[in-house]
Every structure is written in structure tokens, then in C-alpha cells.
């Protein structure tokens, strides 16, 4: 019964979500000359800068020597998670005036932000594929596995977004704390360095990082054209499940109280 309610709400408000996402796009690139090209340019620029700075230090450790794809795949995935959760975290707080006027299912706000950044993410795949082609990495049938990791990433990000967006209503500190958490998380994820750089006792801990699992999956396919191993598959799915379950429970239990903390 509850599931039917969700589906009904979904259909009723899907038009609103499309409207909100298109509004986000229009507002984001209003008055900018390059507009949506920035979504393509930004990862390329970031990668170039990091490659210039780090490739001599860390580039040698990468098997196959394809440091550019290694770097860029890590950046693109982490950036998606970073941007999506940051946007979603404040999505409820900034929409308080709307919530006070009309009934809207609250989960629409973090969900539409995750979708908006998700679409941006798909755009960033274009320059990534370009770099793959230029560096001559193999393109195999394993590319068909990419949607699997993207779905896991989306579900994981949505779960985290629901969780922090709910908590940020009651404790505004969450916004500042999360900024620090993300920075630390970024350094603990092997984006510009290889895992071999880490002392062997700590490797297991680094492997537990959910974002590392998503990145590793993507890199295995994009850099080597190989199939990721079973443990990688399982980790991605398990993390996604845990995040979405925690996120939904937290959100659902707290959503009726949001309006008092406006």
C-alpha cells in the first residue's frame, strides 16, 4: 500500500521534478558565455592541472602508464558525489518558503538535485571518453557494465543526500562539518595517487572506501577493458543498499518535523 502511494506521488510530481531540474540548468548557466560547455570543460581542466602537477610523482606507479585516464576517472566520479551531496544538503533549507505554502513531498528536493548533478555527470563522461580514445585504452564489451556502477553510485549518493539533507535542517553545523569530511575523504581516496603508495597494513582500510570501490570499477573497465572482479561488484551494490536504506529511514522519520525548524 505504501509503495503504491510512492508510485502515485512520483507520477504526480514527476513533472515538477522535470521543471525543477530544468530551472536549475537555466539558472546555473545564466549569463555565462560558455554555458553548458563548462560541464565538459571543467573536468578536462582539473585533470590537466593535476596531471601536470602530479604525474612525475605518481604517474610511474600506474600499471600500463595511463595516468590521464586514471586521474580523470577518479575526478569525475568523486566530483559527482561531492557536488550532488553538497547541493542536496542545502536543498531543503533553501526551499522552506515553498514548503510552508503548499504540500510537496519533501524527498523531491534532494532527489531532484541528485538527478540534476547526475545529468551533469553524464555530460562529463564525454571528455572522459575522449581522453580514453586519445590515450588508446581498449574499448571492450565490458563497457556495458558501466551502467551498473553508475546506478550503484546514484543510489549511494541519493542515500547519503537524504541523510545529510534531513540532519542539516536540525543541526546547521552539518553543513560545515560535511565540508571538512569531504575534503578528508578526497585525500583518502586514491584519485591522483595509486594504492601501492599506501603502506600494506592500511590498504584494507582504503579498500573499504565506497567511493574507491566505484572508482576502481570504472577504472578497470576504462583503463584496461577488463571485467571488474566479483568482490568489486558486491561492494558497490552493498554500499548502495546500506546508504539508501539509512537515508530513507532517517528522512522518513524526520520529514514531518522539518517545517518547525524553518
Amino acid at each position: 500500500m505504501y509503495l503504491r502511494n510512492i508510485i502515485y506521488n512520483f507520477r504526480r510530481y514527476s513533472f515538477l521534478m522535470i521543471q525543477m531540474i530544468s530551472r536549475d540548468f537555466k539558472v546555473k548557466y545564466k549569463r555565462s558565455v560558455l554555458g553548458i560547455l563548462w560541464s565538459l570543460l571543467y573536468p578536462l581542466l582539473m585533470m590537466s592541472v593535476m596531471a601536470i602537477v602530479f604525474s612525475t610523482m605518481f604517474g610511474r606507479d600506474i600499471e600500463g602508464g595511463n595516468y590521464l585516464v586514471y586521474l580523470m576517472s577518479g575526478l569525475v566520479v568523486f566530483n559527482y558525489f561531492n557536488e550532488a551531496t553538497n547541493n542536496a544538503m542545502t536543498s531543503i533549507i533553501v526551499n522552506f518558503s515553498l514548503m510552508k505554502k503548499v504540500y510537496i513531498p519533501k524527498y523531491i528536493f534532494p532527489l531532484s538535485k541528485c538527478l540534476f548533478v547526475g545529468i551533469n555527470f553524464l555530460l562529463t563522461l564525454i571528455p572522459l571518453l575522449l581522453v580514453v580514445l586519445i590515450t588508446g585504452a581498449p574499448i571492450t564489451f565490458n563497457y556495458l557494465l558501466l551502467p551498473y556502477v553508475f546506478i550503484c553510485m546514484f543510489v549511494f549518493t541519493l542515500g547519503v543526500s537524504l541523510f545529510i539533507s534531513a540532519w542539516s535542517v536540525f543541526l546547521r553545523d552539518v553543513i560545515y562539518i560535511y565540508g571538512i569530511v569531504i575534503t578528508i575523504w578526497q585525500y583518502f581516496t586514491p584519485i591522483f595517487y595509486d594504492l601501492s603508495f599506501i603502506p600494506s597494513e592500511l590498504v584494507a582500510v582504503f579498500e573499504l572506501n565506497p567511493l574507491y570501490q566505484f572508482i576502481k570499477f570504472t577504472r578497470t573497465i576504462l583503463m584496461y577493458g577488463k571485467t571488474p572482479d566479483l568482490s568489486n561488484f558486491i561492494f558497490c551494490a552493498v554500499y548502495a543498499m546500506i546508504a539508501i536504506i539509512f537515508g530513507c529511514i532517517t528522512f522518513k522519520s524526520k520529514q514531518n518535523k522539518f517545517i518547525y525548524y524553518a
Binding site: L16, K30, K100, N256, I259
Partner: protein, 245 residues
Amino acid sequence: MIKISNVTMKYDLGIEKNNSLKNTFINIFKKNKSKKENFDFYALDDISIQINRGEVLGLIGNNGAGKSTLLKIISGVMRPTSGCVEVNGVVSPMIELGAGFDMDLTARENIYLNGAVLGYSKKFLDERFDRIVEFSELIDFLDAPLKNYSSGMIAKLAFSISTIVDPEILIVDEILSVGDIKFQEKSKQKMLEMINGGTTVIYVSHSLDSIKDLCTKVAWLDHGKLVKIGDTEKVCNEYYSVQMN
């Protein structure tokens, strides 16, 4: 159609004090030391009203009596602290117009955005788009961003979007006074049209004249309590004489 049973809405005014981790920690230590101060505010206190299909209920009372709170509870924006509200039918709220208007977007885009916020589908809005524009008399400014509009124009646009639906239950909160005289008359005509079509209406206003024009019965709220509910003339006159004392 709408059954409000023993609805109470209690606010804890002390909530502002606890907005961060620091305060949460401090409060843990404070719990044993001082009695929790009583900041409870009853916006609504044990309200029970029944509204039948097709009735037009007027809600009158001072500022702060709880009228808007009651409307928000009926339309689902808030849940009551205790008691329950049974609503049979889709509620079209006209509480605070222009929900979701984005000042950077044009009127055309905002019609779709606002319509979407109210729960309408694209097809529905496409069909009624021309009617909305005609009612709002803003056809020349359709593609200008909203931040260039005057407040009266924004209000007219918002009202036009809210009225294009044939609602089962309409909730109107003090918004019929927007716009110039011509627009006010048009709005009133539209309201009468909807009422005569069998819509159930809850109408909040400070204008006792318009209440007497439109409503079949009136409820008087004061400081969260239901003072009186009954015949329009009698309740309005009693309210007026008490206020003017």
C-alpha cells in the same frame, strides 16, 4: 467532506535555542540542573468543525487567531500535534500565491513551474495556458523575467494560475484583495462561479462584507479556540461588535 476532529497545534517556542551541536551538548548537561521552561504555544486548541460538500465556510478572527494555521493543516503543509483531519477530495490551496515563483525566469516558464508545484501535469497546463494568460491580462509581458514585474502583476499572474482548475475543495486565504478594481471584480466573479459549481470552499478574510456575500456559514476563531460557528449574519455581527468594543 472535511472533518476536523479535536485538532490541536502546539508549538515549542524554545526550539530556536537548539539549532547547533554546541547547544545540544550544553542542553545535555543542563537537563538535570534546571526545569525545562514552558515555551508551549497553542496555535490551535481542540478545534472540531465539519464542512459538508458544497458549503462555503468563512473563517474570521483576529490576526494570530490560528486561521492560517488551520488552513495549512487542512492542505497538508503541517501535521497537527494531536487530533485528525479527514479530507475527502483534492485540495486546491490559494494560500500565499506564487509558490515557487523564480524571479529569474519568465512568466511563461513560471506558469509551468508554479503549475507543477500545485501538482498539475504538463498536458493540463498546455490546455489551459491561453486561459491563464488571458485572465491575468499579461500577454505583452509573457517573456519578460519576473523580477521586472510590479508586485500587482505578480499577484495577478499567481491568482490566474490558481484559478484555472475546477477544484473539489478550495482554500482561500485573504488573497482576493490583490490587483486593481477591475481585477478584483473579475476574481470575485470567478469565485462565485466556482462556488456555484458545487466546490467546497473555506474562505478566510478580514472583509466581513465579502464574507457575508460568499459564505453559507462562518466560524470565529480567537487565540486558537473556536468561539462560535453558525449562521453568517449572526456570527459576523457578533464578531464585529466584540472587536469594536
